[in-house]
């Protein structure tokens, strides 16, 4: 194996790759889904008819429990009188927040580690890659559960735990890309012209790996959302946050399955699938990103 992930146009930089991507129907679909959820998240307070955590009552004073979908409650209500539609809308906010913040941390840490390991090689590479081996050896979900239990049930602790486990995947891909870029003639020329290591790294190499980092980020968003949903479902997340995972846990423990309340537990799942596959659509064609260990 050459060890390098070869992009079609590694030297063209971000602009030409993005230009090519923008014409791709998969990319357009994925980006439109992201945009739609972004708008929903931004205007959640306007779109949602009720505050997500409110316990609602009917005009005659009865608890608005387990109501079927109607004009007033588009998706019905939960068994404890919550408006499912409003919870769903507010769930988009935390899903995007968790997904993008974890992806930003994963990609920036991964990119920096990959740049240093790939460019300098030697003991820096050896140390960074052994640390990456350890993180890759830890089972993702069990580790996040244990860390969240240890650090406290808080959304940011979940993001932190996810980031701590996922960065090695991007670091490995970036590293192999940097290792092949390092040998190019124009890097050689920059070195001969007296550029410092840092200048070569950040002015000549980093711009060329940005498209790769960007594509990896769109997949990492999905991983983070799925992991956060699982952690919430198992009951280790912030009990005050309204997330899709929390909604599903609420439905599961309230016997929504045996009561056939599909209007309660189907919509959050559909939203998760849409948002996560949007990232996959954007990055389609770069399959080596999905299973880095196989090509490494």
């Amino acid at each position: 194996m050459s060890g390098a992930v070869v992009l079609a146009t590694p030297i063209g930089g971000t602009r030409s790759l993005l230009a090519r991507q923008v014409r791709d129907p998969w990319f357009i679909t994925g980006a439109s889904i992201y945009l739609a959820f972004l708008l929903i998240a931004l205007f959640a307070d306007v779109i949602a008819p009720n505050p997500p955590k409110d316990i609602l009552f009917l005009a005659d004073g009865r608890l608005a429990a387990a109501l079927h979908p109607s004009a007033e409650f588009p998706l019905g209500t939960t068994t404890s009188g919550g408006d499912i539609f409003s919870q769903l809308i507010h769930g988009a906010r935390s899903a995007l927040l968790v997904g993008t913040s974890a992806a930003v941390v994963v990609v920036s840490v991964g990119t920096l580690m990959g740049l240093f390991a790939g460019y300098f090689g030697g003991w820096i590479d050896a140390v960074l890659m052994r640390v990456a081996d350890i993180a890759l050896g830890l089972p993702l979900l069990p580790s996040v559960i244990v860390l969240a239990a240890f650090l406290g049930p808080n959304t940011w602790n979940v993001v932190l735990a996810i980031s701590a486990l996922l960065w090695p995947n991007s670091a490995r891909i970036i590293r192999s890309q940097v290792m092949s870029l390092r040998e190019r003639a124009y890097i050689e020329a920059a070195r001969a012209a007296g550029s410092s290591h840092l200048s070569i790294l950040f002015r000549h190499i980093a711009p060329n790996i940005l498209p790769l980092a960007f594509l990896f980020g769109s997949i990492a968003v999905g991983w983070a959302i799925l992991t956060e949903a699982s952690v919430s479902f198992l009951g280790f997340a912030d009990p005050d946050a309204t997330t899709w995972g929390f909604m599903l846990q609420d439905a599961y423990v309230s016997q929504a399955l045996s009561r056939g309340l599909f209007n309660w537990f189907v919509p959050p799942g559909i939203c998760i699938i849409l948002l996560v596959s949007a990232g996959f659509f954007i990055s389609r064609g770069y399959e080596q990103l999905l299973f880095p260990r196989l090509r490494d």
Binding site: D133, G137, P139, L141, L226, A229, L257, I273, F291
Partner: protein, 324 residues
């Protein structure tokens, strides 16, 4: 793979296992509250509590506790579960077969289906079949497993009543021995839904891998050569191309066994499947540190060992690797 490379890889595996074990020890020692909080009865006198702390070695300095922990671990002793009041090892050993059976049966179904469907889709490249099925395959990888399990439960179990709603055997069922239990129709009936849930989630990876490898292999010279020899297209696909395309799939399978054992956590919880993941969740919720530590260690060991196996499989099957 040379002997030296093999030794290096095994050494790396042992190193990772040691670091994980050590991290786990310090993490659980730093957990809020006394590690004995759940074990100590409020009716115990302070003297009794001191005796108990001494019995568990918790009155010694941290480095001695760490030494004791490694020493016990080397002998296979994982401590005493607070909630089950039995040794952690025996709790885990009853859970392990359930997790292994669930993981292996779902992987078997997922990979058999994924390999065939992937090869088929590669042969149908550019047709409407591909255009319709690819988005579904990608979406199946975006599914939250536990949600898929909930939907299947609500439809196939609660609405149609075809499958039991959870657990591994019917309440009150008794078996002469463990073997009879695992091979009973009752057990298999309980296994279907959780295994199906996992299989649907897992089939996307082998399918996409097989498809892209087939597309790559079909461009290679020996395939063009066979075509020139006049071999039929299906004979080329099955006898020549598929063999070469299977290598990364085999590696993915080895990695999949390791990561599924940990990833089963949510599916086991949805279906109340009495496996390792469910024990871990139970233990963490109940602050049963010895059980949580033991379950985590077992899951992590499976993953680290299978990561190593995946590398060895890759090196053995692909002659280009390891002869650098």
């Amino acid at each position: 793979m040379t002997g030296r490379a093999l030794l290096l890889r095994l050494g790396q595996m042992v190193f990772v296992l040691w670091v994980v074990t050590t991290l786990l020890f310090f993490l659980f020692r730093m957990m809020p509250g006394s590690p004995l909080a759940a074990y100590i009865d409020t009716s115990m006198t302070p003297e009794q509590q001191t005796i108990l702390l001494h019995q568990f070695g918790l009155d010694r300095p941290l480095y001695q506790q760490y030494g004791l922990y490694l020493f016990n671990l080397a002998q296979g002793s994982l401590g005493f579960s607070f909630i089950y009041k039995t040794p952690v090892g025996s709790v885990l050993l009853t859970a392990l077969p359930n997790t292994l059976l669930l993981t292996l049966s779902s992987l078997l179904v997922a990979y058999a289906f994924g390999i065939l469907a992937g090869a088929f889709l590669a042969a149908r490249r550019g047709t409407w079949i591909e255009a319709v099925s690819l988005p579904f395959v990608l979406a199946s990888r975006a599914l939250p497993e536990f949600w898929l399990g909930m939907v299947l439960l609500a439809i196939l179990s609660f609405s149609f009543g075809w499958f039991p709603a959870g657990g591994a055997t019917s309440p009150g069922a008794s078996f002469p021995n463990e073997w009879a239990r695992f091979t009973s129709l009752d057990y298999l009936h309980h296994l279907v839904l959780p295994a199906l849930t996992l299989a649907i989630f897992l089939q996307g990876l082998p399918l996409l891998l097989m498809r892209s490898n087939m597309l790559e292999v079909m461009q290679e010279e020996f395939v063009v050569m066979s075509r020139m020899k006049g071999l039929s297209e299906w004979s080329i696909i099955i006898r020549h191309a598929a063999r070469n395309a299977l290598l990364p799939v085999a590696t993915a399978l080895a990695l999949g066994i390791g990561s599924s054992i940990g990833g089963n956590v949510v599916v086991e919880s949805v279906f109340s499947w009495p496996g390792l993941g469910r024990r871990l969740v139970e233990a963490v919720s109940a602050s049963d540190y010895p059980l949580a530590q033991g379950a985590f260690l077992m899951i992590a060991t499976a993953q680290v060992v299978m990561n190593c196996v995946a590398d060895l499989v890759y090196a053995t099957l692909d002659p280009r690797v390891g002869r650098r």
